[in-house]
């Protein structure tokens, strides 16, 4: 079976492409990125801020069982065209990883299917490779208990 989500990462380049075809009409796919309560549901994170517009910004937070903060991400939205694209920065707060730039393109395939292409640009090839290895090193779950502790010491 063909994989629904594809990662294209060429050796020695500081960018990747993530593509995914959805069994959803374009407007529903786009809404999943725009409305805070929907983002919370599929990302499994708290949305503290989400201004989906040009010169907007966002701030997401993942907490552990005792309410302790495991993971925070934030960024600014540079460009926002409804049902078409979102250009934003992404930063994992309190980690040694630099800010990355994300171009999200939303396309209609048919009335009931759509496609998302994420073009992510990293500060360096080494940063890209380190981030690609993160889920490997941690198992799938990024919100690992020790993540914060380890990053604190890395800094």
């Amino acid at each position: 079976m063909e994989q629904k989500t594809k990662i294209h990462a060429e050796d020695g380049r500081q960018e990747i492409f993530i593509t995914r075809e959805f069994d959803l009409p374009l407007d529903l796919l786009f809404r999943a990125y725009v409305e805070a309560d929907l983002v919370e549901q599929w990302m499994g994170t708290k949305v503290l801020q989400l201004e989906s517009k040009k010169r907007g910004a966002y701030h997401f937070q993942t907490t552990g069982p005792n309410g302790n903060i495991l993971f925070q991400s934030s960024g600014v939205i540079h460009d926002f065209v409804e049902n078409k694209n979102i250009t934003r920065t992404f930063e994992m707060e309190n980690t040694p990883f630099p800010v990355q730039l994300e171009y999200l393109d939303f396309e209609k395939i048919s009335d009931s299917t759509s496609k998302l292409t994420m073009h992510v640009i990293y500060k360096s090839v080494a940063d890209r490779d380190a981030i690609l290895k993160l889920p490997f090193a941690f198992g799938i779950n990024l919100a690992h208990n020790r993540l914060q502790e380890i990053f604190k010491n890395v800094n």
Partner: protein, 108 residues
């Protein structure tokens, strides 16, 4: 008993995965690595020994200190280190799809 060490056994343990992550950005001495964990120093040494035996880590003598560094070549042996990254996004997008599908059917 002589257990053969392989990469998969090495990464099965969460502490060892944390050590690997720690060493993706820098090389460190055993002492510096151990200071990142609550685990007793000999336990960390044992983990380092296992990771070294399966060549996920390499040792390098610098003066009197031994530094451990990550060996990315070996990482590639684990089929493809990008696969878990892809899997993470796939899971996330599957969730998105099901959340939005429920929304659609709930509305109608």
């Amino acid at each position: 008993m002589n257990l053969r060490r392989d990469v998969f056994q090495a990464i099965a343990d969460p502490t060892r995965r944390a050590i690997l992550l720690l060493l993706t950005t820098q090389s460190m001495t055993a002492g510096a690595i151990a200071s990142n964990f609550d685990t007793a120093r000999p336990t960390v040494s044992k983990h380092l020994q296992i990771l070294t035996e399966c060549e996920l880590l390499k040792q390098e003598q610098q003066g009197r200190e031994i530094y451990y560094h990550f060996n990315p070549k070996k990482m590639k042996e684990v089929s493809d280190f990008i696969e878990p990254f892809r899997q993470m996004w796939d899971d996330r997008f599957n969730k998105l799809e099901s959340v939005m599908k429920n929304l659609k059917t709930g509305k109608k």
